[in-house]
Symmetry: C2
Subunit: 193 residues, 2 copies
């Protein structure tokens, strides 16, 4: 354990694993958990289906590896409080457009209990943690985070999953200008306003 403490394999067919994960994310994002097949994923990655099993054990194991996700929320305490909503929407839109992992997770969460559990974890832990800086009332804080998640996931659901035309066609910056005030009020406002 001096300098080289690699888990098991120092490095071997690491490119293959990456290709599998990339193909898996595409298929899970496009088709959902049930319709995405190991055979199709392997074909996309141009490898043999049995390799997927060898590397990830099962379809669930593959999904668990492919749906690893970090919201990468910025440090909200460094953001001017009045611009919190704006920063959040813009961050999420950029995060979604640059990485289809969250779309895969979103689609799978509708039918796969494990994916739903992971979704709950991500938003309950990462988002609540980022929001919890403001205010000590944990019940109200969790509620604020839940409301923010409802609008952000609704945005993703209508734009990337159901693909409602107005939500697909509206430019990101206009979506930001509409939705930012909503998050702002959920984060810092009062129920009756």
């Amino acid at each position: 354990m001096t300098a080289s403490a690699q888990p098991t394999h120092p490095r071997r067919s690491d490119a293959t694993r990456a290709a599998i994960l990339r193909a898996a994310r595409e298929r899970f994002a496009a088709d959902g958990y049930e319709r995405a097949t190991i055979r199709a994923i392997a074909a996309d990655a141009q490898i043999d289906p049995s390799m997927v099993m060898r590397y990830y054990g099962s379809k669930e194991g593959l999904f668990a590896a492919a749906a690893e996700f970090d919201l990468r929320l910025p440090d909200l305490s460094a953001v001017p409080p009045a611009r919190l909503g704006e920063v959040l929407v813009r961050h999420f839109l950029a995060r979604w457009d640059g990485d289809e992992t969250l779309v895969a997770l979103l689609r799978a969460a509708s039918t796969n209990p494990g994916a739903a559990e992971r979704m709950r974890g991500i938003f309950a832990d990462q988002l609540t943690a980022a929001v919890t800086a403001f205010g000590s009332d944990s019940a109200l804080t969790a509620r604020r985070a839940g409301l923010v998640a409802s609008q952000l996931l609704g945005l993703a659901f209508t734009r990337y999953i159901v693909r409602l035309p107005p939500m697909v066609d509206t430019p990101p910056e206009e979506l930001v200008s509409w939705i930012a005030p909503t998050l702002q009020r959920y984060l810092t406002g009062l129920p009756e306003s």
Copy 2:
């Protein structure tokens, strides 16, 4: 064609069809389109699986019949403009709790293209039509309807599908008081506010 112009069958085993549809809605709502099987639905309805095929032709045909849905939006022109948001959220929450068809449709829309198409139709037609009473700019009207749909579907997605604890635990009336102002602004406000 004088008084009795029934389509084909006046009435026969109509109770069976109703039992099938009820079981189908439950299964589609709980498991999504792919995981819900005709065999399981038939077992729930206590009939033979082949009866489902006979009555509805195929799994898609069964879903199409089970996911028939009407938002039953009230006449918004009779609502005081300042209370539009409140009326809408309360109506949707009540509609969701009283009929699991929309949950079935929501879950299926994540993975089934046909269900997504139906979802688009419902919100593009019924919601846009109800909103279009205010304002003549069709592009802006569609955008308003899309934003309203994003928050309402996000509410449903987090409360009924992913089941985020804060969104499940919060009483309906408090959800209304938080979300109503959001819809109000989407319906009647301006982007920069």
